[in-house]
């Protein structure tokens, strides 16, 4: 079953080259994703310069505890993900499945925390755009801050949700013995995606929770 050449497509010379192609493709894809977020980061930078005081005041109204918890959840999930790939490399598919499940579980916890946080904000009247109605911070800069907050964390949460689905699919494939030390490219690429999502959060965390 573990015949690696099974996965070799006929326009590549060998599997090493094919794997290299897949990785490079993934890096290019991640670069594109990074620029997708970069547009929003650029807006954040510009608006922070325009409304420094409001941004600080508004950042003090996000939930630092939840934000920090989410940070630790995500970096830990990254550790598990790395180990899932490692297990496949070491020919231990069973452990690989376990790590994947753990990673996905942490992803779900992250989304749960996010949901709690959003609900809290909604209760305060913090909505994006024209619906913003937070009585304690009526200034326009705060509205812009929270609109960006929703866009950036929302886009990120969508990526996490997509990642969880991806992880579930990978776990199923791993469970069926789809990955071997020679061939586990999908697992590796899925891992890269997950880590990238983690990196994005590592920047969102200070920008929206810490810099008050």
């Amino acid at each position: 079953m573990a015949d690696a050449t099974l996965h070799l497509r006929d326009h590549y010379e060998d599997l090493a080259k094919q794997t290299h192609a897949a990785r490079l493709g993934m890096w290019v894809f991640i670069g594109s994703e990074a620029l997708l977020f970069a547009a929003l980061f650029a807006l954040y930078a510009a608006y922070r310069i325009a409304y420094p005081a409001s941004f600080r005041a508004a950042a003090a109204h996000t939930n630092l505890f939840l934000g920090t918890a989410m940070t630790f959840v995500l970096i830990t999930s990254s550790l598990l993900m790395a180990n899932a790939v490692l297990s496949a490399r070491l020919a231990r598919p069973g452990r690989s499945v376990g790590f994947l499940a753990g990673t996905a579980g942490l992803g779900i916890i992250f989304l749960g925390l996010k949901a709690v946080e959003y609900t809290e904000h909604f209760r305060d009247g913090i909505f994006p755009g024209a619906f913003y109605a937070f009585a304690r911070l009526p200034a326009p800069g705060a509205r812009v801050f929270f609109t960006l907050y929703y866009f950036m964390t929302g886009l990120h949460a969508l990526h996490v949700a997509g990642g969880v689905v991806l992880l579930a699919w990978l776990a199923r494939r791993a469970h069926r013995g789809g990955f071997t030390p020679e061939y586990h490219t999908p697992l590796e690429l899925g891992g890269m995606y997950w880590h990238f999502v983690d990196v994005v959060w590592i920047f969102l965390w200070p920008l929206f929770y810490l810099l008050r």
Partner: protein, 540 residues
């Protein structure tokens, strides 16, 4: 999947090529063969050119008289928006990369296919979906914002901007995939001996284009999404009434759209580098210079977006920075023009149709590019911004440059693609028609701009009429030329003389295969020992 290599039939019957290996519609719609995907893109983008051209003709007709001629202002606004959107995102951006890039990249690199053939097929469908969504938007009422979608107008207009934006967003996904595929292909599927400095220049051009595609397109996607969210749900981030700054939209938009103009010209430049060597039977004057200039444009092109915003309220400091950076990017184009001209020196020049388009390109692109430098001179842009001078500038480059590149490619590689020749005489007539028609259409627009006629004007003061009439008449000549091309190419498809494998005597690597190429390009991976187009070697 096309792994089922049909064994060659008994000798004497037809050679198996990618066209006749399977002929059902289904085989075309599910193909992962890069050549067939190239043909699919060729068909769709040519249709887009015709559609955008029809919009252009209507625009020009309306501008025949100063007041309303035969439509109302709203229709006019929708038309130029659609013209811009269709020409840019449906025609020009996907045309050369999608059609010729797909067809030629693996052939030129000595590969059997692109890196990710199934993704490649997906990009065809995503393009088709995007096109349908844009056109549905057009039918539902169209957008009237111009192709630049500046808020707050774009977020307040009652027209159907959302589907149009959504369509463009989807088209963006398609071109990102194409770009990703080409980058990885160039890195991983070069055949033995194909070192980086032996890669054909067209591949370099498409490679650089791809880098721009994957980096710039997501920013456009995000930006358009923000406009959609504002228009549909009032979640405005650029809306001044909500504390936003509409100028930031312009930054993000042009971060994409300036590099996008190089997405539109680089592939055409690649075509020109191939064409000039092939038809002058001459090695390129300086291969390295072209490579450096190609990569230089791709990179420095990212630093100049603010030159579209000199009058927008951007800070003087930022304007100055963008001004000088725009000057830097122009130098790379100058390097190319100079290298092409010098390549002709002591060549053996044949004036077939592709070469006519090369000369059209050379002159029109240079002039258009130089007017680009003029508008980049900041104080002059204050005068010319959003006048017909700018319209003339970019049509000189996009029609006089990129579209000529497209036409040159179409004629140069037509025999490669279909194994047949087009009628020589008609092709000369058509080229002359297109080029003179072009000059007649767009040169008057420089004067109009100088005289102060703003663009996107449905009606205009009487003093501008004469030049507008000339321009409208010119557009009919272009049309005549293009329709003629369409006619004789369709004719040649069926009845053209057989071209043999290499009718031009070109030393491009893609001609190492029979024409049309077999389904898997190369039986054995070729071994490359030198650069393409080293014509002096033919003596040995």
């Amino acid at each position: 999947m096309s792994t089922t290599t049909t064994p060659p039939a008994s000798p004497g019957t037809r050679r198996i090529d990618y066209l006749n290996v399977e002929t059902t519609i289904r085989s075309w719609l599910t193909t992962t063969d890069h050549k067939r995907i190239g043909i699919l893109f060729l068909i769709m983008t040519t249709a887009a050119l015709a559609l955008g051209g029809v919009f252009a003709l209507l625009l020009r007709l309306e501008l025949l008289t100063p007041g309303g001629t035969f439509m109302d202002a709203m229709s006019y606004n929708r038309l130029f928006t659609l013209h811009g959107v269709v020409m840019v995102w449906l025609f020009l951006i996907p045309s050369i990369p999608g059609a010729f890039g797909n067809f030629l990249l693996p052939l030129m690199l000595g590969a059997r296919d692109v890196a990710f053939p199934r993704l490649n097929l997906a990009s065809v469908y995503i393009y088709a979906i995007g096109a349908v969504v844009v056109l549905a938007g057009a039918v539902l009422g169209g957008a009237d914002t111009g192709w630049t979608f500046y808020p707050p107008y774009s977020t307040h207009t009652p027209t159907a901007v959302v589907p149009v934006l959504l369509g463009v967003f989807i088209l963006g996904i398609s071109s990102t995939i194409t770009g990703l595929n080409f980058i990885v292909t160039t890195h991983t599927l070069r055949t033995e001996g194909m070192t980086w400095l032996r890669i054909p220049l067209f591949v370099w051009a498409v490679y650089a284009t791809s880098i721009i595609l994957v980096i710039a397109t997501p920013v456009l996607g995000m930006t358009l999404l923000l406009i959609i969210l504002d228009h549909a749900f009032r979640l405005g981030i650029f809306d001044p009434a909500l504390g936003g700054d509409p100028i930031l939209f312009q930054h993000l938009f042009w971060f994409y759209s300036h590099p996008a103009v190089y997405i539109m010209i680089l592939p055409a430049m690649g075509v020109m580098s191939e064409t000039v060597s092939a038809f002058a039977h001459k090695n390129i004057f300086s291969y390295n210079a072209i490579v450096i200039a190609t990569l230089g444009i791709a990179f420095v092109g990212f630093l100049t977006w603010g030159h579209h915003m000199f009058t927008a309220g951007m800070s003087v400091f930022d304007s100055g920075a963008f001004g000088i950076l725009s000057m830097f990017v122009a130098i790379f184009s100058a390097i190319k023009v100079f290298t092409w001209v010098s390549t002709l020196y002591k060549g053996s020049i044949a004036l077939d149709a592709p070469m006519l388009y090369f000369f059209g390109f050379l002159f029109l692109f240079s002039f258009g590019g130089m007017t680009g430098v003029a508008v980049a001179s900041m104080s002059l842009d204050v005068y010319w911004h959003d006048t017909y001078f700018v319209v003339a500038h970019f049509h000189f480059i996009m029609v006089g440059g990129s579209m000529m590149g497209f036409l040159a490619a179409l004629h140069y590689w037509f025999p490669k693609m279909f194994g047949r020749m087009f009628p020589a005489r008609s092709s000369t007539v058509a080229a002359v028609l297109v080029i003179t028609g072009f000059i007649l259409t767009f040169t008057p627009q420089f004067w109009l701009g100088n005289a102060g006629m703003p663009r996107r004007y449905y009606s205009y003061p009487d003093r501008f009429q004469t030049l507008n009439v000339i321009s409208t008449v010119g557009s009919w000549a272009i049309t005549a030329g293009l329709v003629l091309i369409g006619a004789y190419l369709l004719y040649a498809l069926r009845w053209g003389a057989r071209s043999g494998p290499n009718p031009w005597g070109s030393l491009g690597f893609e001609w190492n295969t029979p024409s049309p190429p077999p389904p898997h390009n190369y039986e054995e991976p070729p071994v490359i020992t030198h650069q393409p187009h080293e014509y002096w070697r033919t003596a040995e």
